[in-house]
Each structure stands twice: as C-alpha cells, then as structure tokens.
C-alpha cells in the first residue's frame, strides 16, 4: 500500500455514520474508496455539493458536475446543489462535523500553515482558511516529513499561518497524533514504523502515553 493510500485509509476510519464531512482537495478520491459503500455520510464539496460520491467511472463524467479540485465525481441519493455562499455557510456556520486538509507545516499547538511559501508558492487561499477555522473537527493528512526528510510537525510554524490553534488530529503515513491542551500526543503508530521513528521524525515534543500498548494501524 502506498503512503498516500495508507493515509487515506486511516483518514476514512475517522468518519462516523451520519456525519457531514469535507475531504479537502486530493484526498477525496482515495479516502472515498475506503468508506463502506453503504455508510450514511454526506460529503461536502466547496463548489456547491452536499452528498458527493466516488469518482466517476471513465466515460460517465457530467460536464456540469465537478468537485472542488476539478475531478468528476458521482453524487449519492439525497444530494443537493447550491451556490458558493450557501456552500461556505455550511462550513462557517459549523455544520461540518469534520474537515480534512493537507499541509506544509503544523505546530504542536495546532497552528496550520498550508497556503503560502512567500516568494516561492502562492497559488491563493481557496476554501482552506474557512475549513481550518470553522470545521468542528480538523484532521490534517500529510506525509510526516518533507521530501527532503525534514519534519513538517514543528514546535512553531515558520510559514505564514492558515489558521491558529485549529488542528485536532494529524494523520501521517507513520502515526496518528492529537493536539491536546497539554501538548501533542501520539495515539497510533503505523505497523511499518515504530515509536522511536515517529519521535525522531517529529519536530516537536511528542507525548507517548504507553509505548508497550501503542495501537498500530
């Protein structure tokens, strides 16, 4: 299983029946594949869908029906379409049980930096700030380190923030960690990894409740 699939599968396990969820850009296609097909969950897409389904099978695309990343999804029974103001009213109004976002950096206090690298990467803001600030539960799905092997999970973000103190949980290919009032807590370790590796590759103090009974995924 690729690291992307590993993350997507673990992310999918966060979703509970009856919830309203936004999967961010990129993750939807992969994560949807790991949801039980009969699970009653409503996937929200910023461009005006509640009840998005899996990616279309090749040849069944509808030119009027895309997701927020430009892909062509199916919709589920009971889906609805609405305008961009209503779509973000769902987000800012607190009707999203959880949102998933990728990131460049995330801090031990739950600060998120995922939208700009000044002078290098500035594609804009999109829906990320609103998802980060207003989803009832924000789950970050990311590789544990950068391509250069440097930690993405830091004491403090070095890049301009998307939102402060917004992250609830971080899911990487190596671990599941929670941001708590007392600090960053290790919750699960990938079966391919170890507590030692996770701690070594995390750029912030990581609390390890009980190394011997650490759940794996």
């Amino acid at each position: 299983m690729s690291y992307k699939n590993k993350i997507a599968k673990r992310a999918a396990a966060e979703i509970m029946p009856g919830q309203v969820i936004n999967l961010g850009i990129g993750l939807p296609t992969l994560a949807m594949g790991y949801l039980p097909s009969d699970m009653p969950v409503m996937i929200h897409s910023e461009n005006g869908i509640l009840g998005m389904g899996r990616a279309c099978r090749n040849g069944t695309e509808d030119r009027n029906l895309i997701d927020a990343g430009g892909g062509y999804p199916e919709i589920v029974t009971g889906a609805s379409f609405f305008d961009s103001a209503a779509s973000f009213a769902i987000i800012r109004g607190g009707r999203l049980d959880a949102a998933f976002l990728g990131t460049l950096e995330v801090s031990m206090t739950g600060d998120l930096a995922n939208w700009i690298i000044p002078g290098k990467f500035s594609p804009g803001i999109g829906g990320g700030m609103e998802l980060a600030q207003k989803a009832r539960r924000l789950i970050i799905t990311t590789t544990h380190t950068t391509r250069k092997g440097e930690p993405k999970i830091l004491k403090e973000c070095t890049l301009p923030l998307t939102a402060s103190a917004c992250v609830d949980r971080i899911i990487t290919e190596l671990a599941v960690m929670d941001v708590t009032d007392s600090g960053l807590v290790l919750k699960e370790v990938a079966s391919e990894s170890s507590v030692e590796e996770v701690v070594r590759k995390t750029g912030a103090p990581l609390m390890v409740p009980d190394e011997n009974s650490m759940p794996s995924f």
Partner: protein, 235 residues
C-alpha cells in the same frame, strides 16, 4: 445512504425547546408558520422564551398564542401591525419587544447561519433605531454594525422533505424559513409531505439536509393553515 432518517414527533421536537431558550419561528403571516410545532410548544408550557419571528401572527394564532399565554419574555421582530393584542402587551410592559427593519432582521439571521459576526448597513442610520449601534467607516461612508442572530432552536415549516431533511418550500411560505434553517443549534422542520430520499431534484432543493436536525410530518392541516377569511376580498 437511505439510512439517514430524521423524522420525529411534534412532542419530541418541542421537547428540545427548554425554559429560557431563544427560538426562531418561520413564517410571514400564515404561510410558513409552523402551527403544529407551536401547538406542541404551547402544550408543554415552556416559559421565559425569546421568540424571533417576522411578526407575531394575528391574535389567537401561531406565536401570538404562546405570547398571550405568558411564555414569551422577549420578542425580536419586524412589525406587529396586524396584532393589536401583542402591541397592547408590549405597551403594558408584559413583553420586551425589539424591532428591526424586515430585511435587516433577515440578514442578521442569515449572518448567524453563515458564520458571520454581523453585517454593515446604513439602513436606519438617520433614525432613532441607530441609537446605541456601533458605527464604522467603510470607504468614507459611515455605516452601522448589525450583529448576527443565533437561536437555540428554529421551528420552521416546509411543503416537502425527504427523510434526510432536504426541504422544499412553496410560494410565499418560504420567507424566513430557509434563513432560520441555518441559524439555530437545533433545526426542526414540520412538513406537509415526506417523500423518499432521492425523489427531489438536487437542483430544486431549497434547504440542504445538513442544516436540518429533525422533521415532523403534519398529519392533517388544521384550520389555522387555511385561507384567512378576514383577508379575503368580499365581492
């Protein structure tokens, strides 16, 4: 997906309104007023309510009955022109009434639902309703802060729902209902008809199910829902 089913009873729904709750109530006149939910609310005698509604219906109807029974402490509304009973209670100090321009009331509710802190407007700026309101300069023009409104519970009325809570309103029974559907912690919709999920076109849904927590099917449309003979032109 068909497993989501939000249907409940009027009594169970009304039970979600607690003493002291702020309750938004849909409707503009008879159309869109959730009479069955209001009957259930009245029956459980929940007191000390803040009611938020365009008007107070007419005497003996809808929220006027809740107000007349003494269960409403404060009313946030636009006008009471057709309800001299409630105007009398206001003048006698039996209830506190806060008036807003009708469209500003709508925007304050919508702002609450849209997760905004408020809106900026010049409506009423040269009038006594501007007293006490924060003023802000926007591009050299002075405008006022109108804070977002929220409620504990919204009681609304729709023509049709599916089991997942997707709603469709009919004609002028729409009014404040879709706005209130977004602005309360718990949203309860009474509906004239429940259809199977998937039978309403996704483009024709007025309120997406994500906003709606509970649905109550109206078993029979009581007389209150009918044409008000006092407003019919006698030829």
């Amino acid at each position: 997906m068909s497993k989501i089913d939000k249907t409940t009873t009027p009594a169970a729904a009304a039970g979600l309104v607690k003493e002291g709750s702020a309750v938004m109530v849909g409707g503009f006149g008879v159309p869109g007023t959730p009479f069955i939910l209001l009957d259930a609310l009245l029956e459980q005698k929940t007191a000390n309510l803040t009611l938020i509604k365009n008007e107070a219906n007419e005497a003996g109807m809808g929220i006027s009955r809740v107000i007349e029974a003494g269960f409403c402490r404060k009313l946030v509304t636009s006008h009471l022109g057709l309800n001299s009973k409630v105007i009398g209670m206001m003048n006698d100090g039996q209830i506190e009434v806060r008036f807003h321009p009708q469209g500003i009331l709508a925007e304050k509710i919508r702002a609450g639902g849209a997760g905004l802190a408020g809106i900026l407007t010049d409506i009423g700026i040269d009038t006594i309703i501007s007293e006490g309101k924060t003023r802000v300069d926007v591009n050299g023009v002075t405008v006022m802060v109108e804070e977002a409104l929220h409620a504990d519970v919204a009681l609304i009325h729709a023509a049709k729902a599916d089991r997942m809570g997707n709603l469709v309103y009919e004609k002028t029974a729409r009014n404040f209902n879709p706005l209130m559907a977004t602005a309360a912690e718990t949203v309860i919709a009474e509906v004239e008809e429940i259809v199977e999920t998937g039978s309403i076109s996704p483009d024709a849904i007025h309120t997406p199910g994500a906003f709606v927590d509970h649905i109550v099917e109206i078993e029979n449309l009581t007389e209150e829902y009918g044409v008000l003979q006092s407003h019919v032109i006698q030829e």
